[in-house]
Amino acid sequence: MADQIMNSVSSPDGFWASKRRIEKFTKIFTTVVLSVGAVTMILPVIWMLSTSFKSPTEVFAVPPIWIPSPLHFENYPKAWTISGMYASEGITFTTYTINTLIISVLSCLGVTSSSSLVAFAFARLRFPGRGPLFILCLATMMIPTQVTMIPTFILFKTIGWYDTYFPLIIPAFLGGGAYNIFLMRQFFMSIPYEMDEAAKIDGCTNFGVFWRILLPLCKPALTTVAVFSFVWNWNDFLNPLIYLDTNSKKTLALGLTNFVSLYGQDYHLLMAASLLIVIPLVVMFLLGQRYFIQGIATTGLK
């Protein structure tokens, strides 16, 4: 018996068998841990989904009812239309959705167009002051938005932009933020310079190089910037909170917050509303995921 064990360990066959066994064990261990983690990550979403179909009495049941019966589908239209104290003014989540879409789509356009133009200049064109300006750009990532918030608010209020969408949209067209410029620049840098030269010999202008040669190659990075800026604006809370006053101009984030303060205990309605707000983001994520995982990988590394 002991001989057998010695044999199996010392013989090359036994060695490889045990190594394979370790690998197999690692694989099983990894799968188990990852699965437990994945369930933990997904449980809040299931909880949200489950709550959104409950009746008011089922919501607070202990132990929780995971699959309510019957399913209260009516929670969704109900949550969508009552939206707090402004229901009498005819304001529902439809109003908020349209407002949020206007802001998010326009900001998204602004961020992608202006950050890629600025990044192109930093990555491809030579001009005096390029180095220091780029470092300045990176340094602004360290500045918390709260420091600029008050003077910017006063500036926008003075020029009459308070309670309009301009403070929420125009800044997006001004460079689109340091992080996005950085991400786009990193991506441009990874494209061989010969592409530009060939195009220039063929008579392309600088803008032509940017528009016809580099941008089409940058779809992953552009998608990343677009998705993230859309999500950011969709979720943005502080800026709409300080700039928007008229109820009919408010965004989903503000509408939902108002809903919470009025219907704080109606979790079935709150979860239904929250889910509806989150669904567009989930869809965008699933569609763009392939691109932006690649996009992030490029910046995270270099």
Partner: protein, 303 residues
């Protein structure tokens, strides 16, 4: 300068004009203006009044809420950043093993961080933290056998409200994970093979190959996540109705700045607060650069 060079420079300046405008009107100007305002008293309606160092004196010697807000913000940062970082590195390393269904795992872990700090997510967590019928206490009572009535009261309790915010932040570990995963995949496999030939076991390989190879990414992430967590706001506002309760236990710096500026219209005092937050963040970043010897850059060896 040749004419071609001049042409290139001119079009470059045209391209970066929006950025320059933003630097002047959205960043540089406002930062300086906030500094100036921090020495003034101003409620927007009545004329502005210069008060010297009064705001700072008041803040440091006469305002316990300021210290409370600073403490709460630091508490959140020092707990959420390191633990979140270890968690996301661990998940990234597990995911870097070649197991089946990796794309599915990646989506599941990453998605919550994309939903991010939105209001909808904060509403969901407010419900999860509900003491009497929330998901968290239910899970705790299942796993430990402690009855739900004896579990922490989370957002309703002065002692547990900050840990609740920290726990909530872990739902976003996927954001860091995806970056670490990219970092791990960038470490050449040749290094692992060499280590194995030298007889290094898995644990030694982690300390001598994985960690040094990942250190630039860790450094970058550390700086970004610390800057971000000093600015926590949305979650707290939504879960505490903008108050930072109970008993100011979740009053964080940005919430306090917001209250001072847009509830009480003390623009000068709020500016002073925002500058202190700015200095704290710069100090934290500067310290990290000072102690960044542990970061290993592969390129350095080739100099």
């Amino acid at each position: 300068m040749t004419s071609a060079e001049r042409k290139e420079a001119i079009s470059a300046y045209v391209f970066i004009t929006p950025f320059l405008l933003a630097m002047i009107f959205m960043t540089g100007g406002p930062v300086l203006a906030a500094f100036g305002l921090s020495f003034c008293k101003w409620d927007i309606l009545t004329p502005i009044q210069f008060v010297g160092l009064d705001n700072y004196k008041e803040m440091f010697f006469n305002d316990p809420r300021f210290w409370k807000a600073l403490y709460n913000t630091a508490y959140f940062t020092f707990l959420s950043v390191p633990i979140g970082m270890v968690l996301s590195i661990m998940v990234a390393m597990l995911m870097n093993q070649k197991v089946k269904g990796i794309a599915l795992y990646r989506t599941v872990y990453y998605l919550p961080s994309v939903l991010g700090t939105g209001v909808a997510v904060a509403v969901l967590w407010k419900w999860i933290f509900n003491a009497d019928s929330g998901l968290l206490n239910y899970m705790i009572s299942i796993c430990t056998g402690i009855p739900m009535s004896e579990c922490p009261k989370w957002l309703a309790s002065e002692a547990w409200s900050k840990p609740a915010l920290v726990i909530m932040s872990f739902w976003g570990v996927g954001g860091g994970m995806i970056i670490y995963l990219a970092g791990l995949q960038g470490i050449p496999t040749a290094l692992y093979e060499a280590a194995e030939i030298d007889g290094a076991n898995r644990w030694q390989q982690f300390w001598t190959v994985t960690l040094p190879g990942l250190s630039p990414v860790i450094f970058f992430q550390l700086i970004i996540t610390i800057v971000n967590s000093f600015q926590i706001f949305n979650q707290v506002y939504v879960m505490t109705d903008g108050l930072g309760g109970p008993a100011d236990s979740t009053l964080v710096m940005v919430l306090y700045i917001y209250q001072k500026a847009f509830k009480y219209y003390q623009m000068g005092y709020a500016s002073a607060l925002s500058w202190v937050l700015f200095i704290v963040i710069m100090l934290a970043t500067w310290l990290q650069f000072q102690y960044s010897k542990w970061v290993y850059y592969e390129g350095e060896l080739r100099k």
